[in-house]
Amino acid sequence: MRILGISCYYHDAAACLLEDGALVAAAQEERFTRIKHDQSFPSNAVRYCLAESRDPTAGIDAVAFYDKPILKFYRILETYFSVAPRGLKPFVRAVPLWLREKLWIEPRIGEALEAAGVEEPEHFYYPEHHASHAASAFYPSPFSEAAVLTIDGVGEWATATLGVGEGNSLRLVEQLSFPHSLGLLYSAFTSYTGFEVNSGEYKLMGLAPYGEGVYTQRILEELIDLKDDGSFRLNMEYFGYLDDLVMTSDRFEALFDGPPRASETPIGRREMNLARSIQEVTTEIVLRMGRHARERTGKRQLCLAGGVALNCVANGHLLREGIFDDLWIQPAAGDAGGALGAALWLWHSVLGNERNTDGTHDAMQGAYLGPEFSHKQIAAFLDDRGCVYEEIDESAWARTVAELVAEENVVGLFQGRMEFGPRALGNRSIIGDARSEKMQSLMNRKIKYRESFRPFAPACLAERVGDYFDIDRPSPYMLLVASIREDRRETLRGDEANLEIHDWVNRRRSDLPAITHVDYSARIQTVHRDTNPRFHALLSAFESLTGCAVLVNTSFNVRDEPIVCTPEDAWRCFMRTEMDHLVLGRFHLDKRRQPEGAADGSWS
């Protein structure tokens, strides 16, 4: 049986394909259209997933869409009933869009399938938004039973849910409802500190360690009524998202000492302190919710999904607190993962199919679920573009790439299937030497063109992670933050808070300076032989060459661009940044040897 899962029309549209319960393919639409967080109907992703099928012409038995559109529209209308006479601007913007496009899901899916040469199926299914998130968290997890927590902006009405998963059954038991939302609270601060909602949340999280929690108490006293069990309500007088096109109101500005930071203007102490304060509040809420989930369900494992589950700082605290024996977080925890959750929900919850778990391995295949390009195709592309390249023998591949990295080169790494979810995990990555003092600054300024305060993540051999970090378990999807081990740290001088952010970032803090954040934390990816043997081999080669089993791993893109999908995307990014080398499968391109002006023109 073939099930197509689809999510779209809010942000991060995606599609996935299940064949007899096995996850065959999943991809985000942004990777194909090159529009970051593209929310439009995922025609390209659907086409890709169908092409990945064992029999691409066999058709689809059912489609699962990740939420209930009419119920969501009803919530929007209820909001306008509630806030009128205010709310005209969002009303005029939202209602025509819904009437014109978002309510016509089935015809749109039919058109997309027709364009892919596949007949429209008879059956369409619509789980609730948070049921999709919960299914994406529980069903692919290694656990036979677990508590399930989903936290995001908003679905139909729910903004957070608590559920119980047992075998193939998944029940949602409690929820918090709109407009009281942890995701929207965090997004309000994201917007207020000058970052873009739905994409700048990571930046705010990265900024938090620079600040002090001077606003934490003010947030808890004025903005939110937080109960011991993690449930809360927001004081809506401080927020604008109900009746305006902005996240925060004038009262919010008065409470936090001034107007919002304008985008691209310098970041000051206030923004750092706000980032730290909202991170502390978020962590506290997640911890309280976790304790409540443990108490309410009695389960010893926890599965997490929803946009807030991408807050790896809170995840790390939740793990270290020891409330649960173990955590599993869906790597595509945001709305993209809803496509996967919807399909899995249909397969297990509705159709009653059993699931197999071993307590250790999940069903995500390392999240390597996207397009892959053959050796021949890459060669054809390189020849077509007149690129100068070398073909590396497979037996020497890992050693050759490791040598390039060890010489402090920045290397674009493109191999195997593209990752599903927001993180690059070694197949569409830019890598560098974590021991290099100049690497963080170099990558931020000359490769990624992004804010200098943002940290880079380490990729570490799974079997060696305990040698470098205070963590005792795998983190294959870069969703847990842990500290650098004490014996690897260097003592701070104590004047850091007085430094300009750029100088602060560049000060050495450990023997892995490129991946150590200012509070000694790191967002860890453990690399496993069974899910990515080539990346594992590369790290092993780097270790045997240098004695270090850690690399800098950042996504293969520049600021505000989606992660690369095709060899062409990778080559274009390589040629237009100051990246030194590009490894496309078994081909190696040295920037110095490429013809001048080879990649002139636009990015897209």
Binding site: F32, N44, L71, S82, F91, V92, V388, H588
Partner: protein, 166 residues
Amino acid sequence: MTVSEEQNTAPRSFVAVPGRPEAAAVAWRSASVGGAREPLDGRGRIAAQTAVAALVGASIAVFGSRALGIALLSIAALVFTAAMISPRTVSNALGGLFASTGRIAGTGLTWLLMVPLFYLFFLPFGALLRRGRRDRLQRFTDAGAPTYWEAHEGPRAGSQHPDRQY
């Protein structure tokens, strides 16, 4: 390692293999690039459009306002002549003109319909619902409540049906 610089002198086409999964990604890229490079058959299309405009102009001139008809005929003749000289420029200009006109008309129409709908329907019924304490949004806090968690019963009665959009 095999240095293959010498092979690069004769570029081959980057062809996707139909039926292979990665073909979807490649086909998408090729289609968009190819689409942009495709030569426009502008002259024929614009000739047809201006012929229709001329016909309408002639009809207006004969059966209605002579001045308006002649004006329309003149515009059609001008566009036709320009299109024969530079079809792409005229086609782009016309496309842009139609798109902007459509956008402006659409925005205007949206406000024209939505503003009365909002104030004549949502405002009074919203007030009635709030007076009847049927405000679903619960925009208040309750210091005495032990929890804000609500039992999950499905968003609305009957909404558990997996094949319904509500």
